[in-house]
Amino acid sequence: MDQGQPEEEKSKRSTVSRRTFLKLLIAGAAAVGGIMSLDFLYPKPTNPELRTVTPTTAKVTASTFSTTPSSKGASVVVVRGSASVKPAVLVERALESLGGVEKIVPSGASIFVKPNVGFYDKEAATDPRVVVAVVNCLKRALPSQIVAGESSVRGNDTEYALQVTGMRSIVGETGVEVRDLRKDQAVNVSIPKGKAMSSVNVFKTVRDSSFIVDMPRLKRHSATTITISLKNMMGTVPDSEKGRFHQVNLNQCIADLNSVLRPSLVIIDATNVMTKRGPTGGTMVELNTVIASLDPVAADIVAAEELFKAEGVTDPAASAGRVEHIQMAAELGVGVADRSKIEIVEVKIS
């Protein structure tokens, strides 16, 4: 062996031959390089939610949902209360005026409630008290289950949003589970009438439900003018899809999505509405109103008009008629956007 090498003591210890060591070294370096190059070639999205989007291919069509869209006409109930009227009262009257929750909701239905909890701001979210009121009414229809859920705006943690807006604790008291949909599995749903998309990934909880109760807060929106029930449905798709919507055509994608995940019942929280700027940072105006309908398009048209009225816009009906995604949804048959075909039932409670 070499000169000057350490003495016999080394031979007592387990020896690894030069060749073995070299082999191990090369294997190790190859492994390290391999793992690192994988990281390079396939950059992993570290948002765990994005990783779960390998959808299963079970398909569902719009007929899963109990109410079918009608192009004939629609009815929208607008319940206005004075400042002292509680949200529960507004909700009760709204559902009564629509025909009563037992008529609207088939018994044994699997209900999914979609509040708006996109941000960490209480003002931007649906008022939890309104959600509680709705849930309490829904229970009377004897559904098989009620689940609430949301997937917040990209970058916001849904859990934290649910916590900080009080949605989790307040709604949790009713016994209804409030789910962070990002933890849910994503499934693929085909869109037969889709103009911008032929299929979309949605969260399993939503697809598996038989009755969707859409509960947005009435707000302005920077990109879509307003965000009401149609836009609120974006919280039922994974982050990657939200991104895709923006890349393809946001308004058309919202319409396409609603054509397969059509809300069966829409209850719009207009107790405090966000004006001038949205979906966050706007000026809150107290209207103490609840707008309800079985037609999401009609509900949005009416609600948009209310919002513009509250802002003092000159021709609120015309402005509401110009909202792109509402018109596109009407074209797909999701609902009625023609003001003349919408019956508005006004209820005042003092």
Partner: protein, 192 residues
Amino acid sequence: MKRRDFLRLFGVGLVTFSFFDILPRVFRGRPLVRPPGSRVEDLFNAVCVRCVRCVQICPTSVIAMATLGDGFKELGTPKIDPARGSCERIHGRCAEQARCAQVCPTGAILDVQKENVKLGSTVINTGKCIAWQGGPCLTCYEVCPVIGAITLFDESRPLFNENICVGCGRCAYACPAEPKALTLTSKGERRT
């Protein structure tokens, strides 16, 4: 030990470590964006003991370990990576107190008042931006927690104000364009 050997060994150590520092400077790209309340860069590198406690505790995972491309001697130090999340010191889970500053044992990251937090600022590549290319997107404007940091041109296209922007990275994270139109830079950062 002979003095010559002593000097050689001592010298070898010094030279090796200098090499780790000097050579990569040639290859380094833009300066790193550091967690909010970080010391000035020289002091940061001196004081950070590479314990990665901040990386472990960050609730949004926006703090990442610097890699080789960030500089040799910076390996293991924390940097802000908006591809993974955004800094919620201004608005969100760290609004009360910066958790990274809380666990940093050497004071490389100090807990500063919210008003003084500025990690850097965001720049936009309008060629990649969906809105500037005509599409309906204002995701950055939607998620921005600082009013005035992003304003709208023609009510449809985002304009970035690097003075008001605090560099939280929410817009850069949420930007749906592929490749992203927004980059978080260290420009205008406030260090302690």
